[in-house]
C-alpha cells in the first residue's frame, strides 16, 4: 500500500461497468516527509475520502478485486483508509 493525498476527482460518464456508481479520486503520491513526489494515481474510493485528506491506497489488483467482490474487475488502485497521523522515527 502507499500513502497519498487526495488532490482531486475524475469525472467519467463512459467507463467499464465496474466504475458505475463509484467515485474516482486522483491522489498524489507522498514521499517519506509527506510531500508530493509528483507522481499520482487514480483510485476508486472505498471509504468516502475527501479533498486534501491523507489516505492509504491499495495498489494491487487482487486485493482490489476482493474489496469490489468481482474476480474480473480491471481495477488495481483503491482508497482503503484515511490516515490520521504518520509517525516518522528520527534518525
Amino acid at each position: 500500500m502507499i500513502l497519498g493525498r487526495i488532490a482531486g476527482s475524475v469525472v467519467s460518464t463512459i467507463h467499464h461497468p465496474i466504475v458505475d456508481g463509484r467515485k474516482l479520486l486522483l491522489a498524489e503520491r507522498l514521499d517519506a516527509g509527506g510531500r508530493p513526489t509528483g507522481g499520482y494515481v487514480i483510485a476508486i474510493d472505498a471509504i468516502g475520502a475527501g479533498f486534501g485528506e491523507t489516505v492509504l491506497i491499495l495498489d494491487e489488483g487482487n486485493g482490489a478485486r476482493q474489496i469490489l467482490g468481482d474476480a474480473n474487475a480491471p481495477v488495481r488502485s483503491m482508497v482503503v483508509g484515511i490516515v490520521d497521523a504518520v509517525e516518522l522515527e528520527a534518525g
Binding site: 488532490a7 475524475v10 467507463h15
Partner: protein, 96 residues
C-alpha cells in the same frame, strides 16, 4: 489507473488471433495537470468509444487484460474509461 490522451489509432496488418477483435489506440500518458509525461504506449480500448484527442484513464498488466470483452486477451495496457473532467483541489493546498 493513470490519465492519458489518445493520439492515434493503431491498425496491425497481422496480429495474434486473440487480438483480432481488439481496437488499439496510441496513447500519450499525462501527468495530473494534463501535461504529457513519459513515452506513448499502445492501449487496447475496453470502452470501444475512445478516439484521437480523447482524454482517458488506463490500466496496465493483468488489470488491462480484464478490462476487455472478451476478457483476458494478451494486452498489457487498456483504456477503462473516458474522462469528462479532472477536478483538482486548490493547487496551493497540494503544493504546501
Amino acid at each position: 489507473m493513470l490519465l492519458g490522451r489518445v493520439i492515434g489509432t493503431v491498425v496491425p496488418a497481422t496480429q495474434v488471433a486473440e487480438l483480432a477483435a481488439t481496437p488499439l489506440l496510441w496513447v500519450q500518458p499525462l501527468d495530473r495537470n494534463g501535461r504529457p509525461e513519459g513515452d506513448p504506449l499502445v492501449c487496447a480500448d475496453g470502452t470501444r468509444m475512445a478516439g484521437p484527442g480523447q482524454v482517458i484513464y488506463w490500466v496496465a498488466s493483468r488489470e488491462a487484460a480484464l478490462a476487455l470483452d472478451p476478457w483476458f486477451v494478451p494486452v498489457d495496457d487498456a483504456i477503462v474509461g473516458l474522462v469528462d473532467e479532472v477536478r483538482l483541489y486548490s493547487p496551493q493546498d497540494s503544493a504546501e
